[in-house]
Amino acid sequence: MESQQKSLWLDGVRTISPILVGVIPFGLIFGVTASASDVPMLAAWASSFVVFAGASQLAIVEVLGNGGAAAVAILTAVVINARHMMYSADMGRYAVDEPLSVKMSIAYLLTDQAYLVSSHRFPDPVERTGFTSFYLGGALTLWIAWQISTTAGFVLGTAIPASLSLEFAIPLVFLALLVLAVKDKPGIIAAVVGGAVAVTGVGMPYSLGLLIGALAGVAAGITSERWFA
């Protein structure tokens, strides 16, 4: 039993490893761009283990770096990370026998990648024996890779010339996530409306245009469902 759990741990590590090829550059970019922004470096660096969700960490730096309000930065991060509630609902079925401390560890380490890899490997919660070992092996590997790559980005950051415009990597990351997130026509409507409203609201104080755009996009997506039904 002991050795079987250990091999499931290692299996989790092995399965998530190819995904790190995409995570490590993302972590480096976060560190480099955050260190170049006006956001206090220690707080931005701490977000890697306090928040531990790359896209929302980038969004916090983007909003605060452009002089946005604290409340807008927090709400934007919450909106970006809201999808974790869906993962949480799914993972709850696998973690149901675990003690609270293990449930909390599973929740803290929950990411897109850890969720996708482990729900692919364990498609049916009825057969959940070994799930926790596999999940924690993969999720913890990702956590370590994120801490090391973002820290390395902060260390490298100041040595990289501003003329390279590495901050442009932030919209590129979000654009890539957007392309991957749009799966159907209401999704396209949500994106078009969200983007257009946010562009219209570019001059608004506290980066409010971003939040209004995001909410308008969600409303448009829900409303447009009936057109394509």
Binding site: V39, V50, N81, H84, G92, A107, V173, V202, A216, V218
Partner: protein, 102 residues
């Protein structure tokens, strides 16, 4: 100080959203309205962050900047390869080439 407050509150909220249904499994289910709204949060908020940064870099509308073509090519790369890393390399590479040419 503001940045620390933002990071701590965003961290607590994110943990709460990750924990809520794991911790309360069997006691509460995901409400239908939430499930419906969550489907459109990702495309909508990502577009709301991306588009202004591309067509209005620095806060003023400017579609003649090299950022727009670089973003389009980076976006196409993301669509073809499904990889964030490739998209960063292609998008930044296009930006540097355009700046070097013009």
């Amino acid at each position: 100080m503001t940045a620390w407050i933002v990071v701590v509150i965003a961290g607590l909220a994110t943990f709460g959203m990750r924990f809520v249904f794991i911790g309360l499994f069997g006691e509460i289910a995901v409400p239908a309205w939430l499930e419906r709204g969550l489907r459109y949060i990702a495309p909508s908020v990502l577009a709301a962050i991306t588009l202004p940064a591309i067509v209005a870099p620095g806060g003023a509308l400017n579609v003649a900047s090299p950022f727009l073509p670089a973003a389009i090519i980076g976006g196409l790369a993301a669509w073809r390869t499904k990889s964030i890393g490739v998209s960063i390399v292609v998008g930044l590479g296009t930006l540097w080439i355009l700046r070097w040419l013009f």
